[in-house]
């Protein structure tokens, strides 16, 4: 036994020769590698956030030094500014219209693509393309041209230009988001492919039709993915800016109908030079998104089904 043990030991020794460096040194290297990003996070994210929080308690017109006003911006926002509340209502309307429409469309297309035999790759890319072009200003401008008077939609439907009608402009903005359903679609597709085929077979044997299969198998099995998409898209929708900006040429018009929250924030900060007020608005938005996300997580307990729970 001892005779065999020695060669084994000897064999191991060369492997251990470039021995692992002490933990602290390895951490040091990690920090060096990370430093550009850590520095970036501090200089480009944390610092501006801190400054913005400070500014939200001041009166700051960009040109003169900020004046401390305590909670005045917040008080004014909630009690004296009808346009603020209009922007809140507009944003909520937008979220409630755009997010469900977008998710429904993404799911329908994902299901259609899942069963497809030929040309799958082509259609997937085709439907995903608008999302790649995504937040770009150019697409929003094209959208404006399409819905402007004399534009394509006007020619086809004789609408006289949606983006210039207060009742329709927000819908034109929402449709731009709905159209960019590629990202949730890809996630849905991945989720759909995770659902075991046996479940559908078993359901079919039990006599379930297509609709029943969808309700009883697809939806519960897909609910974690659905939840993920819902949270992500809701957070994004609250921050909508580019399409509203482009469609209304930066004014939130016509008649404030596309004045979404971030747009009004921009208007206060950069058009009216009230940076303190704009900062206060930004912090309220952060809080609201936090609360909405928390509420979504709360309610998810009652409808999101994780496969692993079934074992318990």
């Amino acid at each position: 036994m001892t005779t065999t043990a020695i060669p084994a030991e000897a064999k191991r020794a060369p492997a251990a020769a470039p021995k692992r460096r002490p933990k602290r040194e390895r951490e040091g290297a990690a920090w060096v590698f990370l430093s550009p990003w850590v520095l970036g996070a501090i200089v480009l994210t944390l610092l501006p956030m801190a400054v913005s929080l400070y500014l939200s308690f001041t009166d700051y017109d960009l040109f003169n030094p900020p004046k401390w006003v305590g909670l005045r911006n917040y008080v004014q926002m909630f009690t004296e500014d009808p346009r603020y509340w209009r922007s809140v209502v507009t944003t909520l309307t937008y979220v409630v219209v755009a997010v469900p429409l977008q998710l429904a469309l993404a799911l329908v297309v994902a299901m259609a693509l899942k069963g497809m035999k030929r040309g799958k790759g082509f259609y997937r890319s085709a439907f995903y393309a608008p999302s790649l072009l995504g937040a770009s200003m150019s697409i929003a401008l094209v959208w404006r041209a399409i819905f402007n008077d004399g534009g394509t939609v006007d020619h086809l439907l004789g609408t006289g230009g949606w983006v210039n009608k207060p009742g329709w402009a927000l819908l034109a903005v929402a449709l731009l988001t709905v159209w960019q359903f590629g990202a949730p679609m890809v996630i849905f597709l991945a989720g759909l492919q995770q659902i075991p085929a046996e479940l559908y077979e078993a359901a079919a044997v039990d006599g379930a039709g297509k609709w029943r299969q969808f309700v009883a198998v697809t939806v519960p099995m897909l609910s974690p993915v659905l939840f993920f998409n819902l949270v992500l898209q809701t957070i994004q929708a609250f921050q909508v800016f580019t399409p509203a900006f482009a469609v209304s040429a930066g004014k939130g018009g016509p008649a404030d109908s596309t004045l979404v929250y971030t747009m009004y924030l921009y208007d206060r900060g950069f058009v009216a030079s009230h940076m303190g007020y704009a900062s206060a608005m930004a912090w309220v938005l952060l809080l609201v998104i936090g609360v909405v996300t928390a509420v979504l997580f709360r309610t998810s307990r009652s409808w999101v089904f994780y496969a692993s729970e079934g074992d318990r």
Partner: protein, 426 residues
């Protein structure tokens, strides 16, 4: 040792990344290849851009050691971008400024005292009264570039074909309104852009009644009743189809391209005379100028205003070269020939006398138009207070509520006056 090298590599990589991060914070006026680089920005239309580029090319030829990078955009976008740049301490070396911006920019410390650059920037040939409009607290922060006044630009051929008598020497607001109604009836399209959205047009209307936008101490010079009357007047005209519908009015953004006249959807447009040259490219049938309507007793409301200014950033690394560029744009004869009246009739009196008779095409139209008003107009108001900068868009936005019939003229006027008072106080 390999470990060693990796470590050193990491350190230098981190240092490099840090440099890249901080590079953005450097000062302005870096030199490229030993040349001084000046940034020069302005607002305007393609016509002005073409002439400015030509003039700048000539400046670069005269000053081989200076490289001028230029950029321009429409007025609304320009105003916002410049405010952001100025706030970040990154204002362009030479910038075009509006009357409304001087007060705010000067008091915010953005602008250089140009009197200190006297050696290269001559002001002796500029009308002293006009030159004074670029002063705040006795410091010359900006030099006026041209003289402008408001005008009714109209599509000559369409008007003539309609059979409605052409505008004569002067007209009152009520005669103007009747003419717009007649034009709308005969041509089938609105006579004018709805003037209700324009603070400038409102000012002309107010002054025609002996009132003003602002009082001398920077307060509001009119009442809710005044504004209600104005908006009731324009609202009525819009309902009759005599001026542009809400869907078109809301698209106005300060560029002539997006006015109903520029889009071929009305016969006239009230505008400043210098940008009106932009209509030539958009209205192929020809554009002519008529004066703005006056008060019912003939009191003129429009006035000669310094059309725009040139200022130099307080942070510029090259004050001398920047002042040279300003001097060139205002005092150089060759430049004046190129620029014509694209920024208003020149302020340099020698140049004005010399260039005036030689102006061609639309520049001549503008010169003749201004000459026809000489001696007839009242003095310009003092420069608007700082808060006015934001109120211009507020005015347009509140009128949107009227033209989309979401508010009565009185409700919108009350809104505006409330916000204006708050804005002027802060």
């Amino acid at each position: 040792m390999p470990g060693h090298r990796t470590k050193r590599f990491c350190a230098s990589a981190a240092a490099l990344a840090l440099c890249a991060l901080l590079a953005g914070c450097g000062g302005t006026g870096e030199s490229a290849g030993g040349k001084v680089v000046l940034r020069y920005t302005w607002w305007g239309n393609p016509d002005r851009a073409e002439r400015t580029e030509q003039a700048v090319a000539l400046f670069e030829k005269q000053h081989p050691d200076v490289d001028v990078t230029t950029s321009f955009s429409g007025y609304d976008a320009y105003k916002q971008k410049l405010a952001t740049q100025a706030a970040g301490g990154d204002a362009p070396d030479v910038m075009q400024l509006d009357y409304r911006q001087i007060d705010q920019y000067a008091s915010g410390g953005v602008l250089l005292d140009l009197a200190k650059q006297k050696a290269v920037l001559r002001t002796s040939e500029i009308d002293q009264g006009l030159l004074a409009t670029g002063r705040v607290d006795d410091v010359q922060y900006a030099i006026p570039q041209g003289r402008g006044t408001e005008t009714v630009a109209y599509d000559v051929r369409t008007w003539k074909k309609s059979g409605v008598p052409l505008p004569g020497g002067s007209w009152t607001w009520s005669r103007w309104a009747d003419t717009m109604r007649a034009l709308a009836k005969k041509t089938g399209k609105p006579g004018a852009t709805d003037p209700g959205q324009s603070e400038d047009a409102f000012e002309v209307w107010l002054r025609g009644q002996g009132k003003a936008l602002y009082t001398e101490d920077g307060g509001l010079g009119f009442t809710t009743d005044d504004l209600t009357r104005w908006w009731t007047f324009t609202d009525q005209l819009r309902r009759e189809g005599a001026v542009s519908p809400a869907e078109q009015t809301t698209q106005l953004d300060g560029s002539v391209e997006n006015t109903p006249l520029g889009r071929g959807e009305s016969v006239t447009d009230a505008n400043w005379d210098a940008p009106a040259s932009g209509f030539l490219a958009l209205v192929p049938t020809g554009v002519a100028l008529a004066p703005m309507p006056s008060g019912e007793d003939g009191t003129p409301g429009q006035y000669f205003k310094p059309s725009m200014f040139l200022g130099v950033s307080a942070n510029t690394g090259h004050p001398k070269e920047a002042a040279q560029l300003v001097d060139f744009m205002i005092n150089d004869r060759e430049a004046a020939k190129i620029l014509g009246a694209s920024r208003g009739i020149p302020v340099n009196e020698t140049i004005r006398d010399e260039i005036g008779p030689r102006l061609k095409d639309f520049d001549k139209t503008i010169a003749v138009y201004q000459a026809s008003l000489e001696g007839k107009l009242k003095d310009p108001p003092q420069a608007p207070p700082s808060g006015d900068n934001a109120l211009q868009s507020t005015f347009q936005r509140d009128y949107d509520q009227v033209s989309y019939a979401r508010m009565s003229p009185r409700e919108a006027a009350e809104n505006y006056v409330t916000e204006a008072k708050a804005e002027l106080r802060s």
